[in-house]
Symmetry: C2
Subunit: 407 residues, 2 copies
């Protein structure tokens, strides 16, 4: 019933957007964008849990006190984080100027920034960028918006679906940026989602929380949690479905599934584009005491630099995987744990499986390790809960990209 569509951020009815070049770092690509709903939209948003919150996060959190939003202003190339009072003033001015040129309320604007920390925004450039974007809003420039939010991303990330509620065609579309500094606890990246569904603020908030917990909170590139990140969704009701205001409704279920899909698609794209990544790893931990411990063990494996470098080297060093589960501080039965890579049983009852000694097995394992996408499953033998997280390997290029970021 959910149909995946190849379309961008203005695919849902009643949205316009534009990304332009204002030269924050240089003029090579778009670096500032506006996403606008023709009428005020119901909004839900989640923000970084980092205590060093960037100025735009503070401004947007305050805007979300009333969950009605008309526009998002976002820039790349400068995070406006650790910029003190001047930074906060700049973020407020971004919202104010955007509100002015779009003739909307100040408190109906979300502000987002991404890029280098500790540098102040070049506000003259920002102002002219906002004006140019505002004057040129349309629904044919989705790619300019995608480019405007990219930093070290190597490809743009979007996901769109179409579905029917009450006989009305409903659309949802999300875009995201982020490849380094990706970690769970939501503090992960920028993600903007537009939809023309008609939904109450409470239900939109619940749907976003649930979707985030199964997507952006289940990924890690390097364990770092940034100062700037946010996920937000604007729902303008233009599809004309009867308002979704209970969890039990059919409409909620369909919408929640669509939002889930968008978020998981984008989360996986972020991992595929992990800085320097050559492998996409799906790590499932089963047999855990509860979901929290399952996730904790899976994240411990996903964050281990020893595991990540082993996969880069296509080295099935399973000892590092069970070792990472061992220090995750979760219940496990060391003599009963089992591990599969691909479908191959590597570890059974806490030790190397007999099958794994055969030449055929080793040949198959080598083929699996050579693939770009690899699936691991570890059974802790301590309960019934499971969780799946996604991560990537650590390569020479990760070191290169991050050793040379500002210089």
């Amino acid at each position: 019933m959910l149909q995946k569509i190849d379309a961008g951020i203005t695919y849902p009815k009643g949205f316009k957007a534009k990304g332009v070049k204002c030269g924050i770092k240089n003029l090579k690509k778009e670096d500032i964008a506006i996403i606008k709903s023709e009428k005020r939209a119901v909004a839900a948003a989640l923000f970084t849990t980092n205590k060093m919150k960037a100025a735009p996060v503070i401004v947007s959190e305050s805007a979300m006190e009333n969950p009605q939003i008309s526009a998002i202003i976002v820039n790349s190339g400068c995070a406006n984080a650790c910029t003190g009072e001047a930074g906060l003033r700049d973020a407020m001015n971004m919202a104010a100027i955007t509100a002015e040129v779009l003739d909307i309320r100040y408190s109906d604007v979300l502000v987002a920034s991404t890029g280098v920390i500790g540098v102040n925004l070049p506000m003259e450039k920002i102002y002219s960028g906002i004006e140019e974007a505002a004057l040129n809003l349309d629904n044919e420039s989705d790619e300019s918006v995608l480019r405007a939010i990219m930093t070290t991303d190597t490809f743009p990330k979007q996901s769109s679906y179409e579905f029917v509620i009450d006989g009305k065609e409903v659309r949802i579309s999300g875009i995201a940026k982020g490849s380094g500094m990706i970690c769970p606890n939501m503090a992960t990246m920028l993600c903007f989602i537009t939809t023309d569904v008609n939904i109450s603020p409470e239900m939109l908030k619940k749907a976003l929380n649930d979707a985030t917990n199964l997507s952006f909170n289940m990924i890690t590139v390097d364990g770092d949690t940034s100062t700037n990140d946010m996920v937000c969704v604007l729902a303008n009701g233009e599809s004309g479905n009867k308002v979704i205001d209970t969890e039990d409704s059919e409409g909620y279920k369909i919408f929640a599934r669509a939002l889930n899909n968008v978020c998981i698609d984008l989360a996986k794209l972020i991992i595929i584009d992990g800085e320097g990544a050559t492998k996409f790893l799906e790590i499932t931990v089963k047999g855990a005491k509860d979901f929290k411990e399952a996730k904790q063990a899976a994240m411990s494996i996903a964050k281990s630099p020893l595991v990540k470098t082993a996969f880069f080297g296509e080295d099935p060093n399973w000892g590092r995987i069970v070792c990472a589960a061992g220090y995750a501080e979760v219940d496990l039965d060391a003599d009963k744990i089992s591990l599969t890579i691909g479908e191959l049983p590597i570890v059974i009852d806490g030790q190397k499986s007999e099958q794994s000694l055969s030449e055929d097995f080793q040949k198959n394992l080598k083929e699996i390790m050579a693939q770009k996408e690899i699936v691991l499953s570890l059974d802790l033998a301590a309960g019934q809960a499971e969780a799946t997280v996604w991560t990537c390997d650590f390569s020479y290029d990760y070191v290169k990209i991050n050793g040379e970021y500002t210089t």
Copy 2:
């Protein structure tokens, strides 16, 4: 009063040792060693907190139920971890054979192993190695022991001191191995310390706990905590001082300081030899609510791959440092934190300092970043406590070494 001495593990009176080549992986270097006290020594030991405990750890923990130890048998090249019941039998046999050839009790032997996980020990080679080492124990082969415990270490690590208690000359000497998989919570590496001090088991245990908390528990290379690690100290009383049995005694204070020095020296050497490390980073967090939070914030910075790669690139990307403190889940005042690199005030009151804009400052900063040893200090402005941790950068070589370890 403490005199640093260039000497090895048999420098304290009444110890002999030997490392030999038994060919666990190949015959290129020594891979098995015995350290022996002529008479039963009082012992204290700390073991990995990883739940996937290696077999030798299980055997040694059991030996420590009575803190009298005569010998340590250690091998490199194979960790005997995740090896099931057979592995446990092998570790017990290592102790049994060592006890037999040395004519001591089974429960007076500590067993330690390091190397690849999930592979069983080649026991015939181990037996012949034990016999050869036992027959050739002396106090002129300290370097053979150092080589026998090395894995990816690029240089041997030892530290010795001499001091006086009750007019008696007392000696202490420690050796360590470990460069990857180094993380706090003690689960860090192998460290064997010998001393001829006369001390009670209780006081020795307290001194080792305290020293470990300020040394091995304050370092991290990659955040991974291994299955095998242990720190142990044997005190045989041969120096003839009056037994140290209270914390308040002058003797305890001198000995504790000496043990502290040995442990901090070895911890720092492990970091300097961090896999692929090009920089040694000393990170102090001040102004924390308590020691626990100070350490937590310092470790969050020390473990951040983004921080570690920035230092590799000699890039003073201070935003990543405050960002890592921001997600450490500790109290901090975002508008009051300050950061120095070297002695240079980079961040004051939560933002880039004015001084840092000058050309001279930038030139000095560049020089500091180019040094091999770099000191950071972050003030959280939330209390009075402080903690210092040591770590290294992440380089191309870290990825190379760990991507190609077993293959």
